[in-house]
Amino acid sequence: MTFTTARRAEPEAETPRPKRRRGTQVQDTRVDRVFMVGVYVLLTTFLLVVLVPLANIVASSFSSPAAVAGGRVFLWPVDFSLVGYEAVLGNESVLTGFANSVFYAVVGTIVSVALTVMIAYPLSRADLVGRKVLIAGVLFTMLFSGGLIPTYMVVRALGLLDTRWAIILPTAIAAWQVLIAMTFFRSSIPGELYEAAQLDGASELRFLWSVVLPLSKPLLAVIALMYGIGQWNSYFSALIYLRSEELYPLQLVLRDLLIVNNSGGSNLADQLAAQQMADLMKFSLIVVSTVPVLLVYPFVARHFTKGVMLGSVKG
């Protein structure tokens, strides 16, 4: 109490009026109210800084080529038109890239999730002999990695260069996801279940398939989404391992179109002939390629929070 009076020597501490007005709510002093204004200003600024560029891209993508090329679009479409989207969706290399990316994301996610469960579940079992060594082996790859060229040499020696497998296999398991899955299995599958299954004569595989996996749906959702989005967004493996354009994932096609500006196929060169159209197409391309991620986003936002927290429980 003495502490309070000593610190709150400002005049408003003596006036009882604000207390009544604010009813049962927690008392905010003037300093606190100023502070809260600061908090809201800060967060609103941050919100706008994130939102404005995104809104600008979307608004531009729905504008007319002339408005975009003239730099006249800010947050709302100018001369609303869909020609940017028509051009993008009529572009062959974009469509091929899109289809390839769907393939890499779907197959890659299935392979990655399967392999992650196959290593994380056994390693989550405290009674497994050799578990510590294997866990250390997984964790060490987080601290030290082979590097670009040594990995490239392995892919080359296996004959995977310029094949679809080069996109899926070298990055199939992420040590971080193994850690998350292990922590989940260890903390949310009760030992009693295992004992009961043993008594019923269920084998290990049977137990994993019929008991553990159905109980692990939230985990499977989280790691599948992380692998899926990771695969959808990556271009590095493709840049290094692929030569044939018909195997390119969307991100590499986008890099060529948006950043390098070397307009690949001849079909495209015709379309890029008009500079205005080229500008507009870039905005539409960005939106089109981000749509799949945005579709899963509401779901993702909820589950990823859990994923981060699963990972933050140290194993």
Binding site: L134, G146, G147, L258, I259, I286, V293
Partner: protein, 315 residues
């Protein structure tokens, strides 16, 4: 000593028997492990072993093990090149800048969000600021190129208002700021999640006590919130300092253009160029290995210091 010998032998025998029983009981678990372990051996540990070519004059005909030894020639060759120090400086400066700018922002964001009572506002800020995390690097760099384009981008107008009229993406001195602040834009919201989780875990009775003592909101943050999230802050800090030399290839490579190369060429992009574009495998591997080793040493050092000072570490 002689009395202990038979018991030791018995213990060994017992252990061997348990191990055999363990194998019989868990063979299905070991079966599951086969493929993932093969992945780690082939795509993680074989590349680590391939690093040996950093000490050899690698040629395709003799292969990795048959090529003649070269000792530290490639390392000497790298450091004899004046470019080496530019690369190291660029890499370190970019990471340090990224760390100094990127580390505090998510903490401030989480502390501010934690003060907000209005649920709708809080959820909106969270949903929007998480979103950029899921956008691919290719798209983020494309967006940067578009919004900073002097001809069509709105950011060019904003900068013009403040009297900056050059194209930031073509300016070597602006490269680091563009890289770092776009990173903050992309990741701050998502990185705040882990601190939000830590804040949610703080014992409510501490807030109760702070309120009884008449602490202002700012004091409550200083005396309750910050100590509460300190362990999380330390872990995140170790991880970021530990990856200071591991700064990614993807974004720097995409942001590079002939005009900003003096600042934007970092070790990762250089390794790619001499390794895959000039096919000097041994030199590229040596540079990559140098980078990984420094990184590992940094991580171990930071972890040790942190354990000594704060009692928190990664392991």
């Amino acid at each position: 000593m002689s009395a202990a010998a038979p018991t030791a032998a018995a213990a060994r025998e017992r252990r061997r028997r348990t191990r055999r029983r363990n194998l019989r009981r868990h063979w299905q678990l070991y079966l599951l492990l086969v493929l993932p372990v093969a992945y780690f051996v082939v795509f993680q540990y074989v590349p680590m072993a391939n690093n040996v070519i950093a000490f050899k004059d690698y040629n395709v005909v003799d292969g990795i093990w048959g090529s003649p030894w070269a000792g530290f020639d490639h390392f000497e060759r790298f450091f004899a090149n004046p470019v080496a120090w530019d690369l190291i400086r660029n890499t370190l400066m970019l990471s340090l800048y990224g760390f100094l700018a990127g580390f505090p922002v998510p903490i401030i964001l989480a502390l501010a969000l934690n003060e907000v009572r209005a649920r709708f506002f809080k959820r909106t800020v969270q949903m929007v600021t998480y979103a950029p995390h899921f956008i691919s690097t290719v798209i983020v760099v494309s967006m940067l190129i578009l919004v900073f384009s002097p001809r069509i981008g709105f950011m060019a107008d904003v900068l013009g208002f403040f009297g900056v009229s050059r194209n930031l993406l073509a300016d070597p001195d602006a490269f680091r700021s563009v890289y770092v602040w776009s990173d903050v834009w992309q990741t701050a919201g998502y990185s705040a999640i882990i601190y939000m989780a830590a804040l949610a875990g703080i014992d409510p009775s501490l807030y109760e006590a702070a309120r009884l003592d008449g602490a202002s909101r700012l004091r409550k943050i200083w005396h309750v919130d910050l100590p509460g999230i300190a362990p999380t802050v330390v872990v995140v800090m170790i991880l970021s300092v530990g990856s200071i030399m591991a700064i990614g290839f993807e974004k720097a490579f995409l942001l590079q253009n002939p005009l900003n190369l003096s600042q934007s060429e970092i070790i990762a992009t250089y390794t790619y160029k001499i390794g895959l574009l000039s096919a000097d495998f041994s030199l590229a591997t040596a540079v990559g290995l140098f980078n990984s080793v420094i990184n590992l040493i940094l991580l171990l050092a930071v972890n040790t210091v942190s354990k000594r000072v704060t009692g928190n570490g990664l392991w």
